[in-house]
Amino acid sequence: MAKGITWSIEDADHMTQAEIYGEVLTQIAKKNKKIIAMTADLAGSTKIGRFQKDFPERFFNVGIAETNMMGIASGLAATGLIPVISTFAAFAALRCAEWVRTDLCYQKRNVKIIATHSGTSFGQAGTTHHCTEDFGVMRAMAGITIIAPADAYETAVAMSQAIDMDGPVYIRIGRSFEPPLHKSIDSFDFQIGKAIQLHDGTDLTVIATGRTVNGALEAAEIAAGQGLSVRVLDLHTIKPLDTEAILKAVMETRRIITVEDHNVYCGMGSAVADVIASSGKGCVFKKLGLQDVFSIVGYPDDLLHYYKMDADGIVEAIQQVMKMDFEQDEDWEDEV
């Protein structure tokens, strides 16, 4: 059992990320009376409505008024309560950006945001309902923690650990069912700020986050069939960043590909690039994701493929990156 888990879930293999956080949150709230849940006319869609069933008196639906929700959450947190608020990522991160900065981060409020329908996971809804900018917006805010869990299990643990820590947290999940990455709730070691190495490798490292992790793992297996040894890191925490794991990948594999359902400008890949650049080491690097474009309409899985964020796209990138050279440094042997 992972550290600090006081709740249990059944049938997690069949739950969406949203369903599971709703369930876990409700269980935690049985003991932790400080938890308040809020939404903006999306109780059903975000699944925070699950909490409302058990604790109607601790649940606030503010109507379609996301910024008001952020401000109220800041005030509630100032009185010692722990607001957990949920709406679509586009509204949580983009519409409310200044509220999150000034009312939550700047004032160090203990508020947890569960941003659903992130990236292109609400594919058919179109660009107004996609959100491929939130890593960038949120990363720029001092003092926030950003987590993008890859499956329902990770979402459950992330929810739980977010409650256990102090300060604003932004948890970014998708809209629908993600195939489980892990076998069970205690089959992986999830710590905020620590990447999970899912597959070891020496030729190249693929760093993925959120709904792109499954594809990365699949790509590593395909590449293994082609004689390549690919390391896969599940970088579920975008901030604080696991610089140690990234530096290790630089030193040991010298080739890195990042994959995220996000614009490659200012996303997870850019965060990784900061670390690579600071290392002073030569490293071949490629960022997969939306190449500074607005996403098209389509089925979520099709969009992963279209933007080369699925196993096919990652394998193609692996082949490209393996053909590129990095500059050897003299003390290369010493570093390994």
Partner: protein, 278 residues
């Protein structure tokens, strides 16, 4: 003034046809915001088939009237109207929601001819409409801007910033319509975040308020004429509507805000529309 019988019949038939097509596309596309699309239909039919000065063959015509669907999730209903008018080949609506299609649940003004703004995030369209109307006035243009809001959308703060701005800037070359179907997603607007007394709120913000039955073409057309004639203050029409209008089992039920349809429910829905038309 009452519409003559032929005109009334024309509008009613058109509305029924539009509703049928909304049902059919909701079926083929896998899921759409059908409830609100059905509630807005009569209002949109009056605008597009009677009042608006447009040329579907020339969607970019400089002097066309503008229409902003601020409740952008009604896009499925808007797309059906635009397709029917010939802005694009109606057949392409079969692609609604499909990968690479120009049509998603919320219409993109760069991809769908006839759409004046990309809406979907609630509380944006109203401001854009005010900007267009002021732009027309500044440049001495005679065209009019029409904007439609959802009542749930009125819970959004930016709407009231716009509601303050339009009377302040004396924006009378714009007609605002609220689709007052009493529901947002999670329940009735009054349960989730109460809007009433709604008329008094608009009046206090400096608007001429026209309340009418949003499914009665005589009232709708009189109301639009009255709103368009208001020269001292901007006018808002609060149209009482029924979410899911025309499909008996969808009416006034929040569960049909967004839904997909299978063969059985689609046929039941079409059947209900047919019955209602008699």
């Amino acid at each position: 003034m009452a519409l003559d019988a032929a005109e009334l019949k024309r509008l009613k038939q058109k509305a029924r046809q539009i509703r049928e097509e909304i049902v059919k596309i909701t079926y083929t596309c896998g899921g759409a915001h059908i409830g609100g699309a059905l509630s807005q239909t009569d209002l949109m039919v009056a605008l597009y088939y009677k009042f608006m000065n447009i040329d579907p063959k020339k969607p970019e015509l400089a002097n066309r009237d503008r229409f902003i669907l601020s409740k952008g999730h009604g896009g499925v209903g808007h797309a059906v109207v635009l397709g029917d008018l010939g802005y694009f080949d109606k057949e392409t609506l079969k692609e609604f929601n499909k990968t690479g299609s120009p049509f998603g649940m919320h219409l993109d003004c760069l991809k769908v001819p006839g759409v004046d703004a990309s809406t979907g995030s609630l509380g944006h369209g109203f401001s854009i409409a005010i900007g267009m109307a002021i732009g027309a006035r500044l440049q001495g243009k005679k065209w009019r801007t029409y904007v439609m809001l959802g009542d749930g959308e009125l819970q959004a703060g930016p709407v009231w910033e716009s509601a303050m701005a339009a009377p302040h800037f004396k924006v009378t070359n714009m007609t605002t319509i609220v689709d007052r179907n009493m529901l947002c997603i999670d329940g009735s607007t009054e349960e989730i975040m109460a809007l009433e007394p709604l008329k008094a709120k608009w009046e206090a913000f400096g608007w001429k308020v026209i309340e009418l039955d949003g499914h009665d073409f005589n009232e709708i057309c009189d109301g639009i004429e009255l709103a368009n004639a208001s020269k001292d203050q901007p006018a808002v029409i609060i149209a009482k509507t029924v979410k899911g209008k025309g499909v008996d089992f969808m009416e006034c039920d929040k569960k049909w805000h967004y839904a997909g349809l299978d063969d059985v429910t689609m046929n039941k829905a079409l059947e209900s529309l047919k019955k209602g038309a008699k």
